[in-house]
Symmetry: D2
Subunit: 341 residues, 4 copies
C-alpha cells in the first residue's frame, strides 16, 4: 500500500464548478492538493487560490502547468476553452480530468482525440460523473453479472426543478440528456446509432419558446431502444431514474429506494450481509470528522461521558437478562466538562 506522494493539481477555471473542485480536493479527497488555480479573471483566480495554503494564482493555463509543483490538471473552465487547455496539458504530457463537455462539438472533440492519439497514450478522463454514482455503479455491476440476461430497453427520467435563465430548447439535449447519452453507452456497452426527439405540449411552467419537456428515443448498435424523459421545469425536485429491462428481469435506480430488481416472480432489493458493508461510509465519515476536528484543535463527537453512560446501561441490561424484570440504571453525576453547549 506504499503510495506516491501527494498529487499536486492545477485547477483551470475558478467559477462555480472550479471553486467547488478546489474545495473538494482540499476537504474530501485524500492524497491530492491544489497547487495552482487558473482563471482568465485574475481576481477570481487569486480569491480561490488564497483559500489554500501555498497555492498560486494564474491567468494562463500553460503558464500554470509549467510550474514545478504541478503533477496533473483539472479543467473546469467553460466548454469553448477546453480544447486549448487540453492541448497545453498534452504538450507537457500531464494527466487531465476534464469537465464535460469534452469540447462544444464533435469536430473539436475529434481534433482533441487526434492529438491524444499522437501522444500515444491516454491522458484525459472526461467528467461524466454519473459513472461514479453509487446507484449507477450497482446497476452496471448487476448487468455485468449476466443474471438478468441481455439488456433490451433502458427507460430514463431526468427532471430538474426549474431551468436557469437563458436556458434554450437545445440545452435540454446538450446539457441534460448528454448524461443519459453517456450512461446509455456505458451501461449497455453499445454505441448510439439514431436519435428521435419528440415534443409533448410544453408545460405552462416552461419559459417562453422553450420546448420542455422533451421525450428522446435513442437506438443503439446492439439493438436496444432507450427512452429519456427530460423535464427541466418539473417544479418538484431533481430526480434521475433509470430502469434497464433485460431478457429475464429489470433493475431500477433513483426511486428513493435502493436499487430495485424484478426477477422470477419477485420485486425488491438486497440486504447488506455485514456491518462493514452497511456502515462503511459511517466509519469513513467518523474518522474524517475526527481528523478534521483534531487538526482544528477541537474535540467533538461522542465523549467519555457517553462511553461511561452506555457502559452503565449495559450493566443494567445484563442484570435484567440474568435475573428477569426491570433493572434501574444508576449514573454518576455528569462533570461540567461534558455539558453539551
Amino acid at each position: 500500500m506504499a503510495r506516491l506522494e501527494t498529487l499536486k493539481v492545477a485547477v483551470v477555471g475558478a467559477g462555480k464548478m472550479g471553486a467547488d473542485h478546489v474545495r473538494r480536493i482540499e476537504e474530501a479527497v485524500s492524497g491530492a492538493r491544489v497547487s495552482a488555480v487558473v482563471d482568465v479573471d485574475a481576481e477570481r483566480a487569486k480569491a480561490v487560490a488564497a483559500r489554500v495554503e501555498g497555492c498560486t494564482a494564474h491567468t494562463d493555463p500553460a503558464a500554470a502547468m509549467a510550474a514545478a509543483d504541478v503533477d496533473a490538471v483539472l479543467v473546469a473552465s467553460p466548454g469553448p476553452a477546453h480544447e486549448a487547455a487540453l492541448l497545453a496539458a498534452f504538450a507537457r504530457d500531464l494527466p487531465v480530468l476534464c469537465e464535460k463537455p469534452l469540447t462544444p462539438d464533435a469536430a473539436s472533440a475529434l481534433r482533441v482525440m487526434e492529438a491524444e492519439r499522437q501522444l500515444g497514450h491516454r491522458r484525459v478522463q472526461v467528467g461524466f460523473m454519473r459513472r461514479y454514482d453509487a446507484e449507477y455503479m450497482k446497476l452496471k455491476s448487476l448487468l455485468s453479472t449476466g443474471q438478468l440476461g441481455r439488456p433490451l430497453m433502458l427507460h430514463n427520467r431526468h427532471r430538474n426543478v426549474a431551468s436557469p435563465p437563458g436556458w434554450t430548447s437545445e440545452m435540454l439535449i446538450n446539457d441534460s440528456v448528454v448524461h443519459e447519452m453517456d450512461v446509455t453507452r456505458w451501461l449497455l456497452g453499445q454505441e448510439i446509432t439514431a436519435v428521435t426527439v419528440l415534443r409533448p405540449a410544453p408545460s405552462a411552467n416552461a419559459p417562453q419558446a422553450v420546448q420542455d419537456p422533451q421525450f428522446v428515443v435513442l437506438e443503439t448498435d446492439g439493438g436496444a431502444i432507450v427512452d429519456v424523459e427530460i423535464f427541466v421545469n418539473c417544479g418538484f425536485g431533481y430526480q434521475v431514474q433509470a430502469e434497464v429491462v433485460c431478457e429475464r428481469g429489470t433493475a431500477r435506480i433513483g426511486d428513493g429506494q435502493a436499487m430495485v430488481t424484478t426477477m422470477a416472480g419477485r420485486w425488491g432489493g438486497t440486504i447488506a450481509q455485514d456491518f462493514t458493508d452497511r456502515f462503511a461510509d459511517a466509519y469513513d465519515r467518523e474518522v474524517q470528522a475526527w481528523a478534521d476536528a483534531t487538526r482544528r484543535g477541537q474535540v467533538t463527537g461522542p465523549s467519555v461521558w457517553d462511553g461511561y453512560a452506555v457502559a452503565a446501561v449495559c450493566e443494567a441490561g445484563v442484570r435484567s437478562l440474568a435475573e428477569g424484570g426491570r433493572v434501574e440504571v444508576e449514573l454518576a453525576r455528569r462533570p461540567a466538562l461534558y455539558d453539551v453547549s
Copy 2:
C-alpha cells in the same frame, strides 16, 4: 480554508479493526496519515506498518506516542487494553479516537472520565460510529427541526446473519444493543433510566445456550419508551432499522429506502432539489478515483472517445429537435487507443 499540515496518527491495535482503520486513513481520509502502528504482537504491528511508507512499528503504546511524529492516537485494541492506552495519551495530552467500548465496565469508564476531567479538557472521541451514518444523521437532523413534535417512542431492529463462535447471551447486550443505547441517548438527548430484557423462545438457529433473539425495553428520563429487537442469528442479512414516533408524525430509516416519514396524511420521503445534492458523493468519488489512478500512473474513467461520441449524439439530437423525425448518428472510426481491454 488554510488548513493545518497532515495529522500524524498512531494506531494502537493491529487486529482486524485496527488494520482496517490504517487502510481507511491511507485511502479514504484526507489530511491524515498513519505514522505508527502498535500491537502486543510485534510481527503483526510490523506487517501492518509495512503497508504505509515511513510508518514505524511498536509493541508499547506509550513508546509509540513518544515518537516525534505522532499528533493523535486511534485506539483499536481489545477493550480491556483501552484504559492504559487512554491514560498514556492523556499523559502526553494527545487527542484520541477510541473504538467502542470505551472500557469494559462502568467502573473503569468512571476512572477514565475522572482522568480526563483532571486534564481539564476533552481529549477523547468514542467510536460510536452510527452517529456518522447518513441515515441516522438525517433522522437526528429531522428531529432537531421540531416538525414532528416531541419524540415519544423509538422502535429499533438490529439483525445479524449469524453470531461468531463463542458469542454469549450477554454479548447481545454488550456488543450489539450497546449501539442502540448510544443511539437512543444521542437521538433523543435523554439518559436511559431503566432496562428490561425479555426472552422470546430462542431461534433454532441460535447456538446452544444462547438467548437469541432478545427484546429489550429502555426507559428514558424524558419519558420515552424505547424497544430494541436484537436477533444475531436471523440468517437473512445485516439489518439496522429505527423508527421514531413523535407527537405529530414518525420517521423511519434502514428499510432499503431513504428516510420515510409519516405526517399529515402522507408517508414518503424527500426529493433532492439539485444535482449538487443528488450527486455530491459521485463528484467526490470521481475526483478521488482520478487522483488515485493518476498517482498510480494510470488513466481510467471516461475517455476522449466517450467525450467525442456523446458530442456526435448531441448534434444528432439537436437536429431531430429542430427538424423532427429520426436522425442517424455518424461516428468516426474508433482509434485502437480507446479499445476497451
Copy 3:
C-alpha cells in the same frame, strides 16, 4: 355451484355500524338480503328498514328472530346488549355474526360460551374483521407455508388520527389493542399468557388524563414476544402495521406497500403471475358496476365509441409495426350520443 336461496338476515342494532352493515348486505354482498332491522329506538329501526324493500322494523330482537323470513342474525348493537341477543338466537338455533366485542367482559363471554356448548354446535362468528383483510390474510398464508420458520416476535403499530370525545385510557386496550390481541392469537395460533402495559410520556395532543400512547407487551404460550404501539392521537392518519419475525426471515404489512418479506439476503414482494390475479378485483367491480347501472336503467362505462376508437388505433399500430415509422390515426366524427356529459 347450485346455491341455496338468498339468506334473509335480521340486523340487530341500527346505529352507525348496524346501518352500515345493512347497506353492505344490500350493495356489496351477493346471496343475502336484510329482512328485518331491530333497534331499541323504534324510529331508528324504521328509518333504516325503510331503505330496503320488504324489510320490517322491530324493537325486540327475539320478536324479529321469530319472523318467518329470518335465516340468520347480525348483531351490531352496543356490547352490553350482545348477550341477550345471542341467547335469543340460540333459542331459535339461528346462525349469528356478532360484532366485537363478543360481550363486555370475560365472565359474560364464558356464559355465552357455555350456552353455545350446550347447543352442541357452533352458531356464532365474532366480528374480528382483520382476519378478512387482504394483507393480514397474505401474512397468515405465508406463515402457514413454513418458509420463514417458526415465528419468534410480532411487532404491531396501531395509530388513529384522534380519539373520539369521552375516550379513556382503558379504551385504548379494550377497543383498540383488542384487535392486535386477536391478530396475535390468530396469526401465531398461540394463546396469550401475560400482558405488560408501558406508559410513555403522553402526547401533548392526547386529551387530559388519557394515557396515549401506550406500549403493550404480550407473551404467548408458544414463547413469542409481541409488542403493540397504540397511539390514538397520532394526528397524521389511521395506520395499522404488523411485522412477524421468524427464524429465517420477516414479513411486514401495512406500510403502503404490498407485503414485504426479508429472507436470504433480499427484501421485497411478489409479482402477480397473470392478469386474473392482478385484475381479479377489477373484473368483479366491472361486472358489479354494470349490473348496478343496468338495474337503475342506466348505461355507463366504456362506450361503443371507445371500442371503435381503440380499434382504429390498433389498426394504425399494426401498420406501424409492419411498415415502420409513424402512422396517423383517422377517426370518424363522434356521434352526439357519445358526448361525455
Copy 4:
C-alpha cells in the same frame, strides 16, 4: 335504496372468459344471476348452465335473448361473433356488457356504432376492465383534482410472463397494448392521433418470428406523448405500471406500492384517515364469508372461544395499565367444540 329485483343475465360464450363471468355473477356480484348460457358448442353451454340453478342452455344468442327471463346480455364469445350478438341485443333493446374487443376491426365497430345510434340511446358497455381497477381509479381521481396540473406524458409498462402458443407480433398490439390505448384515452380524456412502433432486438425468450418486446409511442390530440413498453415474454411476472407526468408532479401505480406521487419536493403516498377506509374491503369480505358459509350450513371464522379469550386478555391489560407491571392471563379450559380441526 329500494332496489329493483335481481338482474337476469344471458351470458353469450361459455369458454374460459364466459365461464369465469358466470362464476363471477353467481359468487361475487350482488343483485344479478345468470338465467341463460349460450355457446355454439351445445355441450359446453349445457355444462356451464348446469352449474347454476334454473339456468337454461342455448346455441343461438337471439333465441336465448328471446327467453322471458333475460334482462341483460354479457357477450364473451370470440371477437368475430360480437357484431351479430350485439345486433341481436339491439333488436330487443337489451343492455349489453361486451368483452373487448368490441369487434375485430374499425369498420365493423363503426357499423355497431351506427346501429346503436339509430336505436337512439346507449345500450353497450365495453369490457375495458382497467377502468375498474382500484389503482387506475385512484390515478384518474387524482388527475381530476387538478393538483398535479395538466398531464404532459404517460409512461406505461405491460409485461407478461410468457406468450401463449400461436401468439403473433400483431397480437402484442391488438390484445395487449389495446389496454394502454384505452387507458390513455380514459385517463387523459384525449384521443390518440398517431402511433409509432419501435422494435428492440427481440428477447431470446420470444418465440421464433415474434417481435417481443415492442416500444410503442402514442401521440394525442391534447399534445401528450405516451410510451408503452410491451414485453410478453419477460419471464418474471405479470406487471402493469403507469406513470403520469404532469406540470407540477407525477403519479405512479403498479409498483407493488400504493399510488406514489411526487410533488413539491416529496415522493410518497397517502395514509387512510379512518378504519372504514383502511378496512372497507375486510368488512365486505367478512360479511360475504359469513353469508356464504351460512348458506352452506357451516359456521367458520372467529368463534365464541376467540371472543372470550380476547376478553380475558383485555382484562389483564387494563389491570397492567392501572397497576403497572406484568399481569398473567387466566383462561378457562377450552371446550372441545372449539377445537380447531
